[in-house]
Symmetry: C2
Subunit: 353 residues, 2 copies
């Protein structure tokens, strides 16, 4: 029989709740005693045996209680667990973090990420997005010194990057201004991916009276700015939270976890595979495509601005995770950030050419 009757569900939920709480294999007596289901341990035992047979539970060794399998957790997340609400205090915490309105996007995100790890007690990750689909808005070149200029690039998402470049000859402020207008005119509205630096150098030389070397310097500055936009930063918070969990009592386990956290590639991959749009993605143990984290659960979400993904934020922890709480937190934060972003900058339209 494929269907799982209500009593089995109740018992499975009780087992997983208990295991999430204590990290101890759950025995039939515990369930019979604590959760007033009104059944004897023997009955529970039989049910547990069934649940194990169907793959929702596992037994670490013959004479111990059961622990949930990945499949068990999945079923729990999809159908069993009780939804959780954030406490007013937690909501307050999030709002305060957002209120700080820190200039740079990255800082805002890492702030929020810290709150997430504080609320959930897990390790949280946050990533700024891959911006290569966004669109350039304006380029400015300013004189700084007798031998230095500042190149500034602004994208339609409000991201500003700059690069200080040195050049043998610095054009007059006036001609730099003309150059800036020309660059903004030419590049404004172009998708970052489509910007060709070599073409740019050509154009600078033909459309202005820049000498070759200076043009190259400026182009390098622009290219450097674009690189900065492309680079997606990853922020980690609450890494030492894992020491609170008994499953990391052993040093090799802890080391393995930290090695994962220190491998940016893995982190990025985790975040990249975040949900397409909107919702919250829960990946439990072996559901993770990345083999290094097949013993962990990862919950991620993305926040958007004008339908453009502006980044993602998530939580990593043991498969025995308080999914209800984590999901509630991320859901709230997702909406809050998206709203906040919208408020910070109401952008004009201007899609890619």
């Amino acid at each position: 029989m494929m269907l799982i009757d209500d009593r089995k569900k109740l018992i499975l939920k009780a087992i997983i709740d208990s295991y999430i709480d204590t990290a101890e294999p759950v025995g039939s007596r515990t369930i019979a005693r604590k959760h007033g289901i009104g059944l004897s341990s023997a009955t529970i035992r039989n049910e547990m045996s069934d649940l194990e047979e169907r793959g929702f539970l596992e037994q670490p060794h013959t004479s111990s209680g059961r622990i949930p399998s990945d499949k068990g957790y999945r079923f729990y997340v999809d159908q069993l667990m009780s939804k959780k609400e954030l406490t007013p205090r937690e909501i307050q915490q999030i709002k305060e973090a957002l209120k700080m309105r820190i200039g740079e996007l990255g800082q805002l995100i890492s702030q929020v990420s810290a709150v997430v790890s504080d609320i959930t007690k897990y390790t949280s990750m946050a990533m700024t997005p891959q911006m290569n689909k966004s669109v350039l808005k304006s380029v400015q070149v300013l004189p700084v010194d007798f031998d230095k200029m500042l190149v500034i690039v602004i994208t339609n998402a409000g991201v500003v990057k700059n690069s200080l470049v040195r050049a043998p000859v610095i054009p007059s402020p006036d001609s730099l201004q003309k150059l800036s207008s020309m660059l903004s005119l030419n590049l404004g509205g172009v998708m970052l991916d489509n910007i060709n630096i070599d073409d740019l150098i050509q154009k600078m030389k033909t459309e202005t009276n820049l000498d070759n070397e200076t043009a190259i310097c400026i182009a390098n500055g622009i290219s450097d700015c674009l690189c900065q936009v492309f680079a997606s930063d990853v922020y980690l918070e609450g890494t030492s939270n894992i020491f609170n969990f008994p499953e990391f009592r052993s040093v090799p386990k802890a080391k393995q976890f930290f090695d994962i956290l220190n491998t940016k590639k893995i982190l990025c991959a985790m975040m990249r595979m975040s949900v397409e749009n909107g919702g919250i993605k829960v990946r439990i143990g072996t559901e993770n495509e990345i083999k290094e984290i097949k013993d962990y659960s990862v919950v991620t979400t993305t926040y958007v601005l004008n339908d453009q993904i502006m980044g993602s934020i998530g939580v990593i922890g043991p498969t025995r995770m308080e999914y209800a709480k984590v999901i509630a937190s991320l859901n709230y934060i997702r909406k809050a950030i998206s709203k906040e972003l919208m408020q910070i900058m109401e952008l004009g339209p201007g899609g890619p050419r």
Copy 2:
């Protein structure tokens, strides 16, 4: 007798070398056998007893070998240890990290920091400096959008920060340019600490025809930029290295270490107390003023540009640290970074008013 004869020195050095290598309390036989001093274990035993009495060694318990005390390490660092050179490979590694010439100072530093932790196998820290003694060079305000401006601040150390501000009315490009000139003229050469935002608002209103609200927005932008300059970032690399050391085999120990690393305040304090100028500072165990790290050793150095401290970089690890190697690395890196900085930007003079 206060003086320590050469034989005692030899033995002490052998003991500390061995303990640094193995983390095992060192017995008299080990020293007699391995390091061809040509003395019997009994003799060594007597010497060790003396050294303990004088506070250079300690005994974890009655019938075990000796381990160095903080005082022992201090003596070792000051007088005993053999100087070490970096291998060509390591030098190569450092040069490559520097060669990447990453735009922002912070990124360069964190790169180098990563190499340090890689070479030394300890956890490395790097900090950008407190810049409030540096001097403002230029302020620029650019129009960005129908309701947004970009405020850019450049210091004499070549640090560039920007802030995107929204204002109800955006002055014409022309008047913004005039405003920029006026701001640069007024603030250029002023030490960041001495900039008073309220005065600035007044001046903006009297010297230009800005309305109150816009002036405040711009002043906020400048203030935000200054905050960014003041904020000294801390970078950590190689945190998971500590799992390689037997002294962190116990989870509480490891947790304690990570808690320290996650407390920015402690880190900053550690780095701040770096050496006044030039050299390398070694703080062993209880020599650390900060009680949380009295079980660790911290080695730090600073790198300079035009006699101005541009930041510090350091290593934290068990008191049983390979001081020779760490010092060699930091020394090399200190010089290399300072040289690199000088090369990147040869600054004009322009001291504080």
